[in-house]
Symmetry: D2
């Protein structure tokens, strides 16, 4: 029997919400295919596949996107020192482009006129998914059930979803719902909503999942060295046990492992969503936190000061906002990526780090290649008179003071 | 006997360098007055006074500038989230304006035609001092011995200074010279030069002075709440022992104390000096590190997202560069201060922090006044349909996608 | 009889569209009051009043907003050198805030639950009006008929409106519709749509309304001097006929007059609307073009170079975008206004201009007050050795070259 | 006989100053070679060659740099819409890099240890030349006579130079010195110093050299079309006489010709020199003014609005400052060039212009290639309901208003 309304590719998680959406879409007259992106989250993908098929999906696509996630999104974000509102490392934003791109690719191939997702109508993710969908396939149609009155009025609470699941024979795992929502991928996990909505509530100790509490981390520091080529991490060596990793996904996963056990990468913030609402989020970004610290440090040694200033203000800053707002597939993001790459040519070298109970402590760094020219011990030495003539500073200062001589303070 | 060349007010520290400069200036035919600014550094001011008088200073001025340092420089820097090159909290830069301003004020009053300092010819501080001097008194004459060939060629090393001191009867404290240089004030201490000039050398454990090693900090966290009014800290309460402080200098000093014992505020970086040379510096900024984290957090709750973005890019960013480059007394800095103040009107509230072995962990925050309107639990809730109509997001996304529909990726 | 749906305050122009909207709203069950803002456009306000009353408006409000338009919007825009996308002087954007503010004020006073306007669903003005409405009165309800299917499907073309007007007894002026749309106020007139939608069509000579064609302007130049205080024009003197004006509205109107006869202020551009669509617009901004040129010139003399750079990049740039996008009533615009005012303290002086066939030619300028200190003939003279020691430039250049010595071009 | 001090390559103009410098350098013990760069200025190069040889130069190098000037400097500046302080098109700054680069190339080849120039000690050009010299050859030695006391004290005025020339047999052209200085190249001519130092003095009509007075320009407009590929002008067609030009130098020279006769490209400003002094300059940039207007216009049609905004703020703005300050050979300029090129991929099409008595009037434009997708007549039409659903704007506006609902004006 042909579904009268056409085919939908649903971004499916195996959970209660998207299972109910799957069933509801069939009920509405759609043929539904389920799509699960493996971006490194902890998930029983095979169980999800079986469940999707059991409740009516005509096909299920499980896609391992970890490699493209690491190479196309995470590593460029490290090169950019990407951040939103000073502290947020953009973990959710970074995964959305690879997830959405594959969803459109499959929808296209399978002849789906529709794509669907389980995002709420108040968050950033609906925007990130849908801007990506539309940018990649201009005429795709999006079904966002949590913005459709028939849906959101019918399922006003979890109780309604559970009742619907029971009625429709949707298997429900009998775990107590956590009093917050999460989004997880290889780069990070987010916690929001529920009890976290009061910004003065301290997150409970057992909420945090990807890192141990710094208080429970080992009493002995762990020392590693990260090697970068063109701003991309290419090797991690652990000096405690001589572990060496180089393959991108393995390298990033390994950094997650060492960061996790040392309690590194937690933040708790109130942020400004694209839609103009403030929300409170807690995040764990273990490996990303270490990499960012190391990359920033190496840039200190290898990036010209004026170039760094331009990059910080003109690339890092808009890059974070554009990613956060879901405009990855856009001319401006493409421009920033292109500009950024140019700045990283000489960001080559090693950074030595000590990891200890939540701290990522830089203990030294060396540069390689042209980037090594920028630092000249003799020249910067306060103790030697090498490098240049100190009298030159007389003129430098005098000329810089010319303008200040004409200044009249406002409060005089 | 009148000194034939006129009067010099020398920024004097009591150490070997400025003592030799003092004597050398007298030898050159100047009358020398010594000036010591108390900006919170650990120093035996009275011993320095006696030494200065003993070796020939005609007057000694010891000025307690801590209050103006905290209120005019440190607190505005906290409001600005001031930083240079991502990580450096600008501790040296922040003290220079108050030190230089008082030096000019005294020079003026005492009829000194000259001011002098012991800064080297390769660093930022010579620039910071002298730009301030010239901006505040256009016709002041500056004597910078480390840029005068007769001086720097004669005193090519510490050995030469010691010989000169012995010859001139300058008392020398018999401590071994540390293999690095420091600059200390209430806000921070810096370490540079000497063994630190190799950027791959890990600073020795006993170098750090203002904070305990995180590894040696208590195993039990300490919890405090900081209250801000208009972005300025006005109260700190320690929940472990109920200590409460409110007076600005006392409050800041107290934060230094709790940060110190919890190992908070160390960094180790390579930075770009104004004069175009890279240098390696290690810094401890204990209380400032805590305050900055707390202030940024409260802004998350109380500052409109678009205003924050403008402030971050257009005030915070140039503020750090301008301070670092010694252009505090300038029309542009004055402009930034004025603009900044306007953004802080609603930054009112409390931030709860846990301090633990190097970590400053935000555990919650509340807003007061108009700033409290920006966060609306119900509206941002993913679980409720309050606040606004989720269907509005359809149009929001659709309109934002119009532009993206016309985008042709570069690599197609 | 009480209108069952409540009271609407309609922004009414007297034209066909808003007359039909007025009647249609009554037909829908609303009581309708008409509101006409006099922002300097050429209009028969009394005829519009009579027409509104005749076709069913229960009240008509005609408000002279010229003075607040000039003082609160136009003059600050001149201080900011406000511009959008390099060339557009923001004439429509500048009028919207004063129009919308008064509309909300009257709606409030008259107990209207609704406001309405005749803007299309594709332009910027709907956004500008409604963001202002919502910002000023959070719970106001907006009726935008051109976005309501019952309305826009019924009135698919001008023919449908004319038929409806005939049916409802709405008087229609028997002039041929122009093949473009306009928006006029004291600052400017815009032309768009119709034949202008082909961006390669040259606007017909008779389209332009507020200025003569430069080819038809006098063969003899006209010379004026504009005096500024704190960046605000306070006096215009015409040297051809000794006219002098000082009152703000009169001054601005006078500049319109002289610009008009000299063919000054036309542009023809393709711009990026906020909603992501490109559109072609032609604009005449006669007096504003002169004022902007004069103000920029005086800033050259009176504004410190570093301050100007910060202002250009950090205020002028976002100010244009924020105004264009209709976010006048916002924390970020308020912040920019506040910051801007500080920069204008010393922008005091006269600018001499020659106006000739489309050209605004600066012929000289003088500064007054502290701003006059910045320019020192002797110091900037290439012919004298006054002001400073030319040898200082040696050190200035040498120090600035240190960094460049380490540069390795990318293409080597 | 070998000159005891080594070989100098002097940037020589044939004028009084550099002729005296040439002779003076020989007198000081240097071997002097003369270098004249042909960057399109009006000059009798052969006469200068003979003069240089006559007064003692051992070699003379006359280099035609017009092609590289146009292709490497002028055209990228057009792509960038490069400008300094709103109005200055950077004509002098643009020529310096090609002049300095060739000077270093020749100095290297000829084994000159020194380069020299006749720039004063107060201007920007000394900085531009010397930063280029040092960046390109780190150990080059620069002789800047106007900053050497023996030189500038000896030649305190023109009279001293004339006396020296007479004494040394330097031929002097018997023209009256103009009461201003000029710098000319293919792109522009500058006028400064002398009577122009009073910023209120109107430049005399006979000063302007590269353009006719708009009042003297033809009464009939001239119409041209400029075709761009990737933001570079590749064809100019004159519709009055069907002239067509395509070769870069010929094209640019032709635009100079048509601009000149139509009185296009004059400005008169007070600018902020890099060294912190304000100075007054008058400039004619005939062809560049037309090209810039056309390029900006075409970007309106072909450049995405968000990309344009990033480019304007983050490339155009620093590009102007960096060029002006003489930092062409720097990592940051190279970065900007690289970023800029990416933005120009789709800036393809024609711009129709009317040139008339100082005015460059855009009369239409068409796009070609992917850039043509951005403008969709139907979509932007106010008269049609095509392109998108106007109801989407409801949600767009509503969501954008969420944030504004929480705003409390500062003055309430």
């Amino acid at each position: 029997m042909v579904a009268p309304k056409g085919k939908v590719l649903l971004a499916y998680s195996g959970g209660l919400d998207t299972s109910c959406i799957l069933v509801w879409l069939i009920e509405q007259g759609y043929e539904v295919m389920a799509y699960l992106a493996d971006v490194g989250q902890e998930e029983d993908f095979e169980a999800a596949r079986e469940k999707a098929l059991k409740i009516g999906a005509t096909k299920v696509f499980i896609e391992d996107l970890k490699k493209e996630f690491v190479q196309e999104l995470i590593f460029p974000a490290i090169q950019a020192n990407a951040v939103y509102e000073t502290n947020y490392l953009l973990g959710t934003s970074l995964a959305r482009p690879v997830i959405a791109r594959k969803q459109i690719e499959i929808a296209d191939r399978e002849g789906c006129q529709f794509v669907s997702h389980g995002c709420t109508g108040k968050g950033n993710d609906q925007v990130r998914f849908e801007l990506a969908f539309y940018a990649l396939k201009h005429d795709i149609k999006v079904i966002a059930p949590w913005r459709i009155p028939e849906f959101f009025e019918r399922f006003a609470g979890r109780r309604d979803l559970l009742a619907y699941a029971a009625e429709k024979g949707v298997p429900v795992v009998q775990t107590a719902a956590k009093p917050w929502s999460t989004d997880e991928n290889l780069f990070h996990i987010s916690y929001e909503a529920g009890i976290l909505e009061d910004p003065n509530t301290t997150p409970p100790k057992d909420m945090w999942k990807l890192t141990v509490d710094p208080e429970d981390a080992p009493n002995t520091p762990e020392r590693i060295t990260i090697t970068f080529e063109k701003g991309i991490p290419v090797k991690v060596v652990n000096h405690n046990d001589n572990t060496t990793v180089t393959e991108p996904v393995e390298l990033f996963t390994y950094l997650n492992t060492v960061a996790r056990r040392n309690g590194i990468g937690r933040i708790d913030i109130v942020e400004s969503r694209f839609i103009g609402v403030k929300s409170r989020g807690c995040y764990e970004t273990p490996g990303g936190t270490i990499l960012r610290a190391a990359h920033i440090d190496l840039e200190g040694l290898t990036l010209d000061g004026q170039l760094r200033a331009l990059r910080d203000q003109n690339i890092t800053f808009p890059f974070g906002r554009i990613l956060y707002n879901g405009q990855y597939f856009s001319p401006e993001r493409e421009f920033l990526t292109h500009s950024l790459a140019f700045t990283q040519r000489n960001v080559n070298g090693d950074v030595k780090l000590k990891l200890y109970k939540g701290n990522t402590i830089v203990e030294g760094r060396i540069a390689r290649g042209d980037g090594a020219k920028l630092y000249d011990e003799k020249e910067s030495s306060m103790d030697e008179h090498g490098g240049y003539n100190p009298q030159d500073a007389d003129g430098f200062i005098k000329i810089h003071s010319i303008r200040l001589n004409k200044w009249t303070p406002a409060d005089q």
